[in-house]
C-alpha cells in the first residue's frame, strides 16, 4: 500500500491505496470524481485527461503514487462558483459534444493545448487533439469549440 497526498481541485486529499492504483482510479474510486472517464486501457482515447501540475496528462498513464505531492485539476474544478469555464461554455455553444463521454477529456486537453498555443490553426488543433477520441461529433464542432475557446480566453486575458 502507498500513502498518497494529492492536491485535487485545490484541496489536499490523502489516501492509502494499493501501489498499482492509477491516478484515474484514485480520482474516480477514492474521491468519487467520476467526471474523469475511462474509455480504453492503452492510453489512446484521452477520456481521462486531467492536469497534473498545470500540464494536460492522461490520468491512466500515471500511478497515483507518482502524483504524490502534485496538484491535479479535473473537469470538476473547471467551473468556478457555478460559472462555466470559457472552454466548457464554448463546447456547449458550438455543439462540440453529443454523448458527452469524451467531453471532460476533450475540455482538459483543449485547456492544455491553448496554454501552449493561444491561437492555434485548424491543423494545430488536429495535432493537439490527436490523443483524444470522439465517436459522436465527427470532431468538426469540437474543432469549432476549440477555436471559440481560444477566442474567449484571449478576450478574457486582455
Amino acid at each position: 500500500m502507498a500513502k498518497v497526498t494529492i492536491k485535487v481541485n485545490g484541496t489536499n486529499q490523502t489516501r492509502a491505496v494499493e501501489d498499482r492504483t492509477l491516478l484515474v482510479n484514485f480520482l474516480r474510486d477514492e474521491l468519487g470524481l467520476t467526471g474523469t472517464h475511462v474509455g480504453c486501457d492503452t492510453s489512446q482515447c484521452g477520456c481521462c485527461t486531467v492536469h497534473v501540475n498545470g500540464r494536460a496528462v492522461k490520468s491512466c498513464t500515471l500511478l497515483a503514487a507518482q502524483a504524490n505531492g502534485a496538484e491535479v485539476l479535473t473537469i470538476e474544478g473547471m467551473a468556478k462558483k457555478g460559472k462555466l469555464h470559457p472552454i466548457q461554455q464554448a463546447f456547449s455553444e458550438c455543439h462540440g459534444l453529443q454523448c458527452g463521454f469524451c467531453t471532460p477529456g476533450m475540455i482538459m486537453a483543449t485547456a492544455g493545448l491553448l496554454k501552449d498555443n493561444a491561437n492555434p490553426t485548424e491543423e494545430q488543433i488536429y495535432k493537439g487533439l490527436e490523443g483524444n477520441l470522439c465517436r459522436c461529433t465527427g470532431y468538426i464542432n469540437i474543432v469549432k469549440a476549440v477555436k471559440r475557446s481560444a477566442k474567449l480566453l484571449r478576450g478574457k486575458a486582455r
Partner: protein
C-alpha cells in the same frame, strides 16, 4: 439558399451543463452499497472444446466470493438468446437460433467468448483471480470468413446449423431479375466487401445488477438504447417476468446500435446478484470490448446491374453473404436481411430486383446493428454499381442517376421488394446538390490538383433509407404539469447523445408556448409502452407523441380551466401556459390548475416509417507517392423532413459522415485467417477517425415533410453513414480509374491505395 445555421437553436443543449462539468452519470458511475465486482474469463481461442475449467486457485484467492462457469449457466437454463427475426426465409425456412449459454459451456466459438465469471470484493481481486482460472481446451479448426464458412468442408460451429448457414433469406423476383440480366445490353458486375467494423462508442460497456429479494426484482443499471428493449430481452433469456426487471440509466456514452443488446454478461450478473445477495458490478475494458461488444457490417456482396443501351436500369441481382460471427446477436440478422431488402431499389426505378441473403456463422465476435444497420451496406452496393456502370458506359454519373430516379409523380412509390416510399423530390435534391458542389467545374479543380501532383476524384451518392422500425407497436409519452409551472415529460426512448432533452423539450415547449426551461424530459423512469432509440426513429416516434401529449394537455387544461372560470370549455382559449376566457380578462395558468394535484396526460401513436434521402457529393485528393487520401470537399443536401433543431441535425450528420469516412479510410476489424486471433484488439491497431479526417461538411436542407408522423420529420441519425460510405468510395474510384485501377474494396488505406496505383502502373508499362 437555406443556411444550416438558421436561427433555431445554437448549441447549448439542455443536457450539456452536466456533461461539460463532469456531473453526468454513465454506467461506470453507478456505485451501489455493498457491491461486488465481476471479472470475466474469456477464450483466447477462436474455436475449441472446453475440456475442463479449473477454478480452484481462483476460489481460494482472497476476496473471491464465487466463480461461475458455463455449467452454472446450463444449470440456470440461461442458454436462450433473444433474436428479433421471426419471419421466414427462402422456401419458408426459419432462422436457426442455436443455444448460447451466457457463459460458454463445453465449447468456445470466438476469441473473447466469456466462459467464466469471477466475483470478488474488489475489482482488482476479481481480475487477479480470473487470471488463476485454468482452462484446458481441445483446439478446433477456425473459420473467420463468411464465404469460407459456407463452403463445403468448413469447420462447423453449431450442430443445429449445418454448413454454418443461420438463415437463407430472399427478396424480390428471382426469375424476373435473371431474365433482365440475361437479356440486357450491358451488365455491370462487382464483388464488394463491406468491411467488419467495431462501433466503439467511447463509453466502455458496463452493468451493475442488484437483486431485491423482498419483491424478487432485478435492478439493472446498464448502458442501453431504451429500457423496454433491454427488459424484453433479459426476460426472454431468463424467463424472469418483465415486471420483475427494472432497467436504470441516465447518460449513455454513445451506442450506434451496439448498446441495444442484452449481452450475456448482464444475465450472468443477474444470476450472481440473486445468489450472492449483493449488487454485482462489471465494467468492461476496451480490450474486452473489441472482443465481445458486437461488431457491425461484415458483408460480402456480388451485384449485377443490368442496363439498356440508353443507360436505363433494367434489373439488379445481389448475392449477399453476411458474417454473423459465432452467435446470432439480437439485431444482426434483421439488419442484414429485412433492412437492406426494404431499400434494395435505392432511389431508382428498377423493374426487376432479386436479392439472396445468406447469414453465416464464423469464429468471430457476433455482428449486430451498427449505424444504418444494413442500409449503408445496401446503398454502398447500389451506388458503387451505378457509378461503375456510368464509367463503363461513359455516361456522367449524375446523368445516369437522373435518368433512372423514381419520378416525383410516382410517389408514394411501392418498390418491387415491398416498401412504400413516401414522397420526396429526388430530382430536386440532385440538382440542388450539383449546384451546391459546383459539379460542372470539377475538371478545372482536377487539373489544379494534377498540377500539384495529386489525383483528384469526384464522388456522388444519391441514397434513401427506411427509418423508424421498432419492436413495440406504439410510442407513448406522458406529461405531468406541476403546480410550480413545470412540465415533466416522460418517454421510454433513450438518448445516447442525440439530445432528446433538448429536441423533445423544444417540441413540447413550442406546442405549449412556454419557455424551454420549464420543460423537463425524463427518459426511462415510467413504465410506458414505446420503442428504444435506434433506427433513426425517436423524433418521428416519441417526438410525435410528445407533441400529441402537449396538445392533449391543452385540451384537458381547457376543461379544467372552464370549471375554474365557470364558463363552457368552448369559451376557453389557451396561449403561453395561460388559459383565459374569450373576451374577458379572467385567466388561470397551467401551474395554478395543477395546484392541488398535478395534471397528467398520456398520448400515444403509431408512426409509420420515414424515408430520409439525400445526395452527398465529395471530392478527394490522393498523393500517388504515399497513397494518402484527403477529403477536400464534402457537400451534403439532405431531405430529412422538417427540422426541429438544426444544430442537432447538423451534429448527427457530422458524426455519421465521419463514421462512414472512418470505415472508408481506415477502420476494419481484422482476424488472422489461420488462427482466428483478433488482430485489431485495441485503439493502437484499430484505426479510429481522428480530428481532421473530415475537415468540413457543407450542408443544405431540402425538406419534404413526412406525412407519416405528427411532426413531418424524417429520421436523420443514420443517413450520414448511408450517404458518405458510397460517396467517398466513388470519389476514390473516380480518382484512380483514369490510371486503369480496377475496382478496389474499402478501407482505402494508404497502403491499399498505393498498391492499387503501383500495380496499375506496372500493368500499363
Amino acid at each position: 439558399m437555406a443556411d444550416t445555421h438558421a436561427p433555431h437553436h445554437h448549441g447549448n443543449r439542455v443536457e450539456d451543463r452536466r456533461l461539460v462539468t463532469g456531473t453526468g452519470k454513465y454506467a461506470a458511475d453507478w456505485s451501489l452499497p455493498g457491491q461486488l465486482y465481476a471479472c470475466f474469463v474469456r477464450s483466447d481461442r477462436a474455436h475449441a472444446e472446453i475440456v475442463s475449467v479449473n477454478a480452484e486457485q481462483a476460489r481460494k484467492y482472497p476476496g473471491v466470493k464465487r466463480v461461475y462457469t458455463g455449467e452454472d449457466a446450463l444449470a440456470a437454463g440461461y442458454t436462450k438468446y433473444f433474436v428479433i427475426v421471426s419471419y421466414p426465409g427462402r422456401g419458408g425456412k426459419h432462422i436457426i437460433k442455436p443455444p448460447r449459454p451466457v457463459l460458454a459451456a463445453r465449447k468456445v466459438r470466438h476469441v473473447g467468448d466469456a466462459l467464466a465469471m469471477v466475483v470478488a470484493d474488489t475489482a482488482v481481486a476479481a481480475q487477479d483471480a480470473a487470471e488463476l482460472v485454468e482452462v484446458e481446451y481441445r483446439d478446433l479448426p477456425a473459420v473467420v470468413s463468411a464465404e469460407q464458412a459456407l463452403a463445403p468442408g468448413a469447420p462447423q460451429l453449431h450442430e443445429e446449423a449445418p454448413g454454418n448457414l443461420a438463415f437463407d433469406f430472399e427478396s424480390g423476383n428471382e426469375e424476373a431479375a435473371g431474365a433482365a440480366i440475361a437479356q440486357a445490353a450491358h451488365v455491370t458486375r462487382l464483388k464488394l466487401e463491406v468491411s467488419r467494423v467495431a462501433p466503439s462508442p467511447m463509453e466502455l460497456r458496463g452493468c451493475t445488477v442488484r437483486y431485491d429479494a423482498a419483491d424478487g426484482t432485478y435492478h439493472v443499471h446498464v448502458c442501453i438504447q431504451g429500457i423496454n428493449m433491454m427488459r424484453k430481452q433479459l426476460a426472454a433469456i431468463t424467463d424472469v417476468p418483465e415486471d420483475r426487471i427494472v432497467v436504470h440509466a441516465q447518460d449513455i456514452g454513445g451506442s450506434f446500435g451496439q448498446r441495444s443488446a442484452a449481452y450475456p454478461e448482464y444475465v450472468a450478473q443477474m444470476m450472481a446478484a440473486k445468489e450472492l445477495g449483493r449488487p454485482i458490478r462489471w465494467i468492461s475494458t476496451r480490450a474486452e470490448g473489441f472482443a465481445s461488444d458486437t461488431h457491425g457490417r461484415a458483408n460480402t456482396v456480388t451485384g449485377e446491374l443490368a442496363l439498356d443501351r440508353g443507360g436505363k436500369l433494367l434489373g439488379l441481382r445481389l448475392d449477399w453473404i453476411s458474417d454473423m460471427g459465432g452467435y446470432l446477436s439480437a439485431t444482426g440478422s434483421a439488419s442484414h436481411t429485412r433492412n437492406p431488402s426494404t431499400c434494395m431499389t435505392g432511389v431508382y426505378r428498377i423493374p426487376a430486383l432479386y436479392g439472396r441473403f445468406r447469414l453465416a456463422f464464423t469464429n468471430t465476435v457476433p455482428v449486430a446493428a451498427y449505424r444504418g444497420a444494413g442500409r449503408p451496406d445496401m446503398a454502398y452496393v447500389i451506388e458503387r454499381l451505378v457509378s461503375q456502370a456510368a464509367a463503363e458506359l461513359k455516361i456522367d454519373p449524375a446523368e445516369l442517376r437522373r435518368r433512372n430516379f423514381i419520378p416525383k409523380e410516382a410517389f408514394p412509390y411501392k418498390t418491387p421488394t415491398g416498401s412504400t416510399y413516401e414522397a420526396t423530390d429526388l430530382h430536386g435534391v440532385l440538382e440542388r446538390a450539383l449546384k451546391f458542389a459546383d459539379w460542372k467545374s470539377f475538371p478545372a479543380r482536377r487539373r489544379r490538383s494534377e498540377k500539384a501532383g495529386k489525383l483528384r476524384g469526384l464522388g456522388i451518392a444519391t441514397v434513401i433509407e427506411n427509418t423508424g422500425a421498432g419492436l413495440f407497436p406504439k410510442d407513448q409519452v406522458e406529461i405531468e404539469a406541476t403546480s410550480a409551472g413545470g412540465i415533466d415529460v416522460y418517454t421510454v426512448s433513450q438518448s445516447q447523445g442525440q439530445g432528446h432533452e433538448t429536441s423533445f423539450g423544444m417540441i413540447v415547449a413550442q406546442t405549449l408556448g412556454v419557455p424551454l426551461e420549464r420543460v423537463r424530459i425524463r427518459q426511462g423512469v415510467k413504465p410506458l409502452i414505446g420503442n428504444h432509440t435506434g433506427g433513426s426513429r425517436s423524433t418521428a416516434g416519441a417526438g410525435s407523441a410528445c407533441k400529441l401529449a402537449a396538445l392533449k394537455l391543452i385540451q384537458q387544461g381547457k376543461s379544467l380551466a372552464a370549471e375554474r372560470l365557470e364558463v363552457e370549455p368552448s369559451q376557453v382559449e389557451y396561449a403561453g401556459g395561460v388559459f383565459h376566457t374569450r373576451g374577458s380578462k379572467r385567466k388561470v395558468t397551467l401551474g395554478e390548475l395543477a395546484g392541488k394535484k398535478p395534471i397528467n396526460v398520456m398520448a400515444e401513436g403509431t408512426f409509420g416509417p420515414t424515408f430520409p434521402n439525400g445526395c452527398h457529393i465529395t471530392e478527394v485528393e490522393i498523393d500517388p507517392a504515399t497513397g494518402v487520401t484527403r477529403i477536400v470537399a464534402y457537400n451534403a443536401v439532405d431531405d430529412c423532413g422538417n427540422v426541429i433543431n438544426h444544430t442537432i441535425v447538423e451534429g448527427q450528420v457530422h458524426g455519421a459522415v465521419t463514421q462512414g469516412a472512418g470505415q472508408i479510410f481506415g477502420e476494419q476489424v481484422v482476424y488472422d485467417r489461420e488462427t482466428g486471433q483478433l488482430l485489431t484488439g485495441s485503439f493502437m491497431d484499430y484505426c479510429m477517425p481522428r480530428a481532421g479526417l473530415v475537415p468540413h461538411v457543407r450542408m443544405q436542407d431540402y425538406p419534404v415533410p413526412s406525412v407519416s408522423n405528427a411532426l413531418g420529420v424524417k429520421g436523420v441519425g443514420e443517413s450520414g453513414c448511408t450517404a458518405s460510405i458510397p460517396s467517398l468510395a466513388n470519389a476514390v474510384m473516380d480518382a484512380l480509374r483514369p490510371l486503369g485501377v480496377p475496382p478496389v474494396d474499402m478501407p482505402f488505406t494508404p497502403a491499399r491505395v498505393w498498391h492499387a496505383i503501383s500495380s496499375a502502373k506496372q500493368k500499363s508499362q
